[in-house]
């Protein structure tokens, strides 16, 4: 918690709540943004026509992401720029293709492979699996239907939307190479990538090793701790990963027709660390300050930028710097986008339906800590030693490749760090890991923190959030209110 979170400050009446904007209001605000500021919001790459991306959010809704018309947005130019940046990725990818850049799609590893590919100047990388939330944003089952037509039903989570997108070419051009992590990770990702590869899309698979539990392991195996992130791993897993990275690097170089030299990789790591630091700073202030200077969805967008830069590392850093500036300013002025009395909750899964996060905020809650399965993308990557080995080591912080107890512990740490009153797990319908980890996370949180956990499945619905989900959230808000009354904090 920051100094601003101290009760004394709150009681001094310095708190000021800023109103979030409707899509219509956001469009008006975008139109009023200074032309000089707008000129900074341009995608530039060698051989590619410069592409302005800061535009009315309703235009992205017209292009298919209908839910945007019902969401509410941060009123600052930086916040609106963030949304525009995220939703313009599609245009950047097609522009990059026209400009002759190489296009790499990555699946699952969430944070390290793009550092390798962005070492090349004439390449863009995107996360095909981030399409998991597209059906909800589109309020349309087009991508899921396309996946179903290819024999992939809801036995796989929403990540199957990527299969539909590969075939429809609706969200990204055909990648020159897809890089898919399999092995010790979510089964859905690998299943989908197998189907994609089977349909002739050029794919290289690489394997994630299991990060064994050091405490439970009684062999003579040697363990070490990651440079940042506090994860213990068996040393031979790192050697194995280095070999995987060497293999992928070779494939990337063949596609790009260019060798990735060590200094190129070091520069890419430096850039990644800069973005990661910005994300850490933003989330620490957003989650640790009362009143919250940034709403849950905006902070989530920032967190996810760390894994893929939305196909533009330069603008990604600029967007995050802008957001950080606004957040700092708000903290200084005691301004928040949510009331100071909001129920503080850690979210232990990214919500497939973003409107649910805003519904929770409307009900008086706030997001104050997350374990979105991408926490390894926030940690620093080692800058000493061999860069490829540093990347391999960074993978070993991945919460998905270890035990469920490890992930549960990360949730517990978030609860403690940000003094959360509860944990919400919006499980992803069909995701293989959700079924077994909810109970373990709940039990660890109950036992170690004594705060309640709400878990529910988020089904796709074109008619908005279901009554069942609304009822659960409202009941959770009432529960947290009762706990406050009992503790005498309200």
């Amino acid at each position: 918690m920051t100094d601003r979170a101290r009760r004394g400050d709150l009681e001094s009446g310095r708190e000021e709540e800023l109103a979030l904007l409707s899509c219509e209001q956001a469009d008006a605000a975008v139109a009023e943004v200074d032309a000089e500021y707008r000129k900074q919001c341009v995608y530039r790459a060698e051989g590619v026509e410069p592409l302005e991306y800061f535009q009315a959010l309703s235009s992205y809704a017209e292009a298919g992401d209908h839910l945007l018309t019902r969401l509410r947005f941060d009123p600052s130019p930086a916040g609106l720029r963030l949304w525009s940046f995220v939703f313009s990725e599609r245009k950047r990818l097609f522009a990059a293709r026209q400009g002759g850049l190489k296009i790499f799609a990555v699946m699952k590893d969430l944070g390290t492979m793009p550092v390798l590919t962005y070492a090349l100047a004439k390449a863009v990388t995107f996360y095909a699996d981030e399409l998991w939330w597209s059906p909800c944003l589109m309020e349309d089952t087009r991508l899921l239907d396309a996946a179903e037509a290819m024999g992939c039903h809801d036995q796989c989570c929403y990540v199957r939307a990527a299969l539909g997108a590969y075939e429809l070419h609706s969200h990204f051009p055909e990648p020159d190479l897809s890089i898919a992590a399999v092995g010790s990770c979510c089964d859905d990702f690998s299943a989908i990538m197998q189907l994609i590869a089977g349909r002739g899309h050029k794919t290289i698979f690489w394997e994630l090793p299991l990060r064994k539990d050091r405490a439970a392991h009684i062999s003579r195996e040697q363990f070490a701790k990651t440079f940042d992130g506090e994860s213990w791993y068996q040393r031979r897993a790192l050697d194995f990963l280095v070999r995987q990275f060497e293999r992928v690097k070779l494939a990337v170089e063949q596609v790009a027709g260019e060798q990735i030299r060590e200094e190129m990789l070091r520069e890419s790591i430096r850039r990644a660390n800069k973005v990661r630091k910005l994300v850490r700073q933003i989330r620490d202030l957003a989650y640790g300050t009362v009143p919250a200077p940034l709403a849950g969805l905006e902070t989530m967008l920032c967190e996810f930028l760390a894994i893929h830069y939305c196909s533009d590392p330069i603008q990604c850093a600029a967007v995050l710097e802008d957001v950080l500036k606004v957040v700092r300013q708000r903290v200084e002025l005691g301004q928040g986008v949510l009331g100071g009395g909001a129920y503080r909750t850690v979210w232990a899964m990214p919500c497939t339906d973003p409107s649910i996060v805003q519904l929770w905020e409307k009900m008086g809650g706030c997001v104050t800590g997350t374990e979105y399965l991408i926490s390894h993308s926030r940690y620093r990557i080692r800058t000493d030693g061999a860069p490829l080995r540093a990347l391999a080591e960074a993978v070993l912080n991945d919460p998905c490749i270890g035990t469920t107890a490890f992930r549960a512990q990360r949730v517990v740490e978030e609860v403690r760090k940000y003094q959360a009153e509860g944990v919400i797990i919006p499980s992803i319908f069909g995701a293989s890991h959700c079924s077994y980890e909810i109970r373990e996370i709940s039990s660890a949180v109950h036992r170690q923190c004594g705060v309640p956990v709400l878990s529910f499945e988020v089904p796709f619905s074109s008619k908005g959030v279901s009554d069942q989900v609304m009822g659960r959230l409202q009941a959770f808000a009432e529960l947290l209110e009762q706990r406050r009354k009992k503790a005498g904090t309200n």
Binding site: S443, P452, E457, G471, E478
Partner: protein, 260 residues
């Protein structure tokens, strides 16, 4: 003056009127939800007022709860069934620590702290597994009234273990079991056991404690109460009107709770 609680459930609508000061139940009513829950709730509320020669002005505050709680526009606040069930049951049993509520389409377990505040809760999944719908489906297949199921289960010699608590899959399983010549009574007991097992599993994550109260329409089924007592290994209390506790809690919370 009075306060009212309106519980709009998937199967029935319940209204309870309490005296605002004494907090005693002054009137209550219950009826099938029907196709338009809001209209049913409004009609029931108006009928109760008429029957007791009261005006809307005599009712200081109305709280609605249940899945249809937001469907009426004459309520002062909406509160979830979790908080209302807890408030209603604690009013009846002050030492209460756990509420099991099994309604037409959902089931829930609520853990309470000393003093009757909600400590934690668990709700069933999105489907109707382990709910009253499950019993209705059984009654329809074996061709008896829902209220006769307890007596039927009581005549069981050897309960049949059900593989499924999903209302859809269980239907074909029950039909299959009957076709194999199994007795309806043994199947009824098996279904009751399956629901009790599922409810116990729901409660498992909460570290529940006795004293336990069982509410909702299914609580009227004596065989269900016995099965729950066996699985929870403690006495299960059932209020005189187990379907009314949600509406009673809503009435007690009227003008009090913070609407989320």
């Amino acid at each position: 003056m009075f306060k009212a609680g309106v519980d709009i459930g998937s199967r029935t609508v319940k209204v309870v009127l309490i005296e605002a000061e004494a907090k005693k139940v002054a009137a209550w009513g219950i009826t099938d939800t029907g196709p338009i829950p809001a209209r049913t709730a409004t009609d029931l509320f108006v009928d109760i007022l008429k029957e007791h020669r009261l005006n809307r002005r005599d009712v200081l505050s109305v709280t609605s709860t249940g899945y249809g709680r937001s469907s009426i526009d004459w309520t002062n606040q909406t509160v979830t069934e979790i908080s209302c069930q807890a408030a209603g049951c604690v009013a009846l049993y002050p030492q209460l620590r756990t509420v099991i509520d099994i309604g037409g389409q959902d089931s829930k377990v609520i853990a309470l702290s000393e003093g009757g505040l909600v400590r934690d809760f668990a709700l069933n999944d999105r489907c109707a597994a382990g709910t009253g719908r499950f019993l209705e489906m059984l009654a329809s297949i074996v061709d008896v009234g829902v209220e006769e199921l307890a007596a039927l289960a009581g005549r069981a010699n050897e309960p049949i273990e059900m593989n499924s608590t999903c209302a859809v899959f269980a239907e074909s399983e029950i039909v299959g079991l009957l076709a194999q010549g199994n007795r309806a009574a043994d199947i009824a007991r098996g279904v009751t056991e399956a629901i009790a097992r599922r409810t116990k599993s729901l409660a498992g994550s909460l570290s529940y404690e006795p004293k336990v109260v069982f509410t909702g329409g299914v609580a009227k089924n004596r065989a269900m109460v016995e099965a729950l007592e066996k699985h929870f290994a403690c006495e299960i209390l059932v209020p005189e009107n187990p379907q009314l506790t949600g509406a009673l809690g809503a009435a007690l919370l009227a003008g009090k709770a913070k609407t989320a």
